[in-house]
């Protein structure tokens, strides 16, 4: 386990490669270095560092308002950091023009906290929407129904294809949103509080779904959460975001056994 008490120290490994359990080298798909983001006097990120490796499930935990969502939005270019370096799949986000950024975004799936389904569109239209600008990636298919059905079958909701989002429950909305992130077959999936607002059983179903998707497509996942159970089940590695920095880093077992008061506070029942 690593502790990072200083604002500008980094735990990023040299050259962005990491040895996996079976000894093969894993490439870094996301690298964040010393990212700073403030809103007026509110300093949200104070030099945050992070690396996500290929095929890895990384959980970033932090209290509400600790800047987790801000960090994830900076990753996809929805927000610009005040300073720092963000690289996704070898491309530095701040240097990309709109077209290149959009191309890169087709490799990133984003599951929003509140699902963010377009409420004036049916489930089918919601899933077809991301395909409008990325037809070449899908081989210019004319009939999108098989792709939509495949994505919906992955989340067990093929029967909802012609329903409106308002006709779905909270858990179903989250699963449809997950299907929408899968439609472009992304290499990285960013989950923003995937289990928030859900009952424990539905939350468990969503976590199981996330794991099965990761197994099926071999995606790299960055999961932002404050749900300890979710982190325990899904994480290979965890980062604790405290006071805008990556305060501690390690596996769930390492962090949950820590005696550091700030780390302990996360795992107290």
């Amino acid at each position: 386990m690593n502790y990072n008490m200083e604002k500008d120290t980094t735990n990023i490994q040299a050259k962005g490669f990491k040895k996996s359990k079976n000894g093969t080298e894993r490439k870094a798909v996301i690298r964040i270095k010393n990212v700073i983001k403030s809103f007026g006097d509110n300093h949200v990120l104070n030099g945050f560092n992070m690396v996500l490796y290929e095929g890895e499930n990384l959980v970033v935990m932090g209290k509400s308002g600790s800047g987790k969502s801000v960090m994830i939005k900076c990753l996809v270019g929805l927000m610009a950091p005040d300073s720092g370096y963000i690289e996704v799949m070898g491309k530095e986000i701040s240097t990309l023009n709109r077209q290149t950024l959009d191309e890169l975004r087709s490799e990133i799936g984003f599951l929003f906290q509140g699902s963010a389904l377009y409420d004036s569109m049916t489930v089918r239209e919601n899933l077809e929407f991301p395909m409008r600008r990325h037809k070449e990636k899908l081989g210019f298919v004319q009939d999108t129904t098989p792709l939509v059905m495949e994505a919906l079958e992955n989340v067990g909701l093929a029967h909802t294809i012609d329903l409106m989002p308002e006709e779905l429950s909270g858990g179903m909305k989250r699963r449809v949103a997950l299907a929408r992130t899968l439609i472009l077959k992304p290499k990285i999936i960013l989950y923003d509080e995937p289990t928030s607002g859900l009952d424990p059983i539905t939350a468990k179903e969503i976590i199981e779904l996330m794991r099965s998707i990761q197994r099926k497509y071999g995606t790299s996942s960055l999961i932002i959460t404050h749900d300890v159970d979710c982190a325990r089940v899904i994480s290979e590695r965890m980062i604790l975001l405290v006071d805008g920095i990556n305060y501690a880093e390690g596996t769930y077992a390492e962090l949950s056994a820590s005696r550091d008061p700030k780390v302990e506070a996360f795992f107290k029942k």
Binding site: L78, Y118, P130
Partner: protein, 267 residues
């Protein structure tokens, strides 16, 4: 001492409000500039534009026609006794026709649409912003400004003049109905008199200003909705302020339009 503190406080509040007003004008101008920049660059969202035209045109038609009909009826009923007093009742179609086509028709239709369309756009985009749908659109590679804002502003700019034409015709029909019932004037005679009285100079400025009215309604609705803040409460604020700001700007645009057309008349 207390009075001077109150005065200083009131002054700083006033200065703050004036500052805020100019900031809003600046932001609105920047938003309009972005619209003109994005409108000419690909990709073009024709399908969404048609959908918005249908939503705004078709769904406002009944409301605009009903309002127009009542305006025509009331205007004729109210003016008739005075016109009789001056022995000018035969000029009734001319007076009603010109006032409806030049001023009342476009302004009333635009105000109705400001209430219905600007608030609708403000609330819709505001709620999309709050529920992160706009972010989801951005992440999926679609430019939300182009898809949501450009299409809506274009739709209102194109649809308001058409609604104004419908509103004018129905208002004239309402007026003709009163004349037919009270003054035994046939519909044919009434409309012949109206169209004889109307000139090119009445129709063109009214039509041109209707396009500007449509632009203002779409622009303000989108501006307020797209920049909505403070969660769900912000959605209500966006809808409300969209109507207020659009209505106010409509009168400013109307004043400028009348001022300019007056210069041309004098030439």
């Amino acid at each position: 001492m207390a009075d001077s503190t109150k005065t200083v406080f009131a002054k700083s509040k006033l200065v703050g409000r004036i500052k805020q007003f100019f900031i809003q004008i600046g932001e609105l101008s920047y938003f309009a500039g972005r619209f003109f920049k994005e409108i000419f660059t690909a990709p073009f969202e024709f399908k969404e534009l048609l959908r918005q035209c249908y939503q705004m045109g078709n769904r406002s038609l009944v409301l605009v026609c009903m309002t127009g009909f009542i305006i025509g009826l009331v205007l004729t009923l109210q003016s008739r006794p005075t016109m009789i007093q001056f022995g000018a009742v035969s000029m009734m179609p001319n007076m009603v026709g010109i006032s409806i086509v030049r001023e009342i028709g476009p302004v009333i239709t635009a105000l109705i649409c400001a209430g219905r369309i600007a608030s609708g756009i403000g609330a819709e985009l505001g709620s999309m912003k709050v529920t992160e749908q706009i972010d989801a659109m951005e992440v999926s590679g679609t430019n939300p400004f182009k898809y949501l804002v450009v299409t809506r502003i274009l739709a209102t700019t194109l649809m308001i003049p058409i609604l104004v034409v419908f509103g004018d015709l129905i208002a004239l029909f309402g007026s003709a109905l009163v004349e037919n019932l009270k003054g035994q004037v046939s519909f044919q005679l009434y409309f012949n008199t109206v169209f004889d009285a109307l000139s090119f100079g009445d129709l063109v400025p009214a039509t041109i200003k209707s396009f500007f009215f449509g632009f203002v309604i779409g622009l303000v609705g989108c501006f307020k909705g797209f920049n909505s803040k403070k969660g769900t409460a912000g959605v209500g604020i966006a809808a409300n302020t969209a109507v207020v700001m659009a209505s106010l700007l409509l009168f400013v645009v109307d004043f400028i339009a009348v001022f300019i057309s007056d210069i041309f008349y004098e030439l």
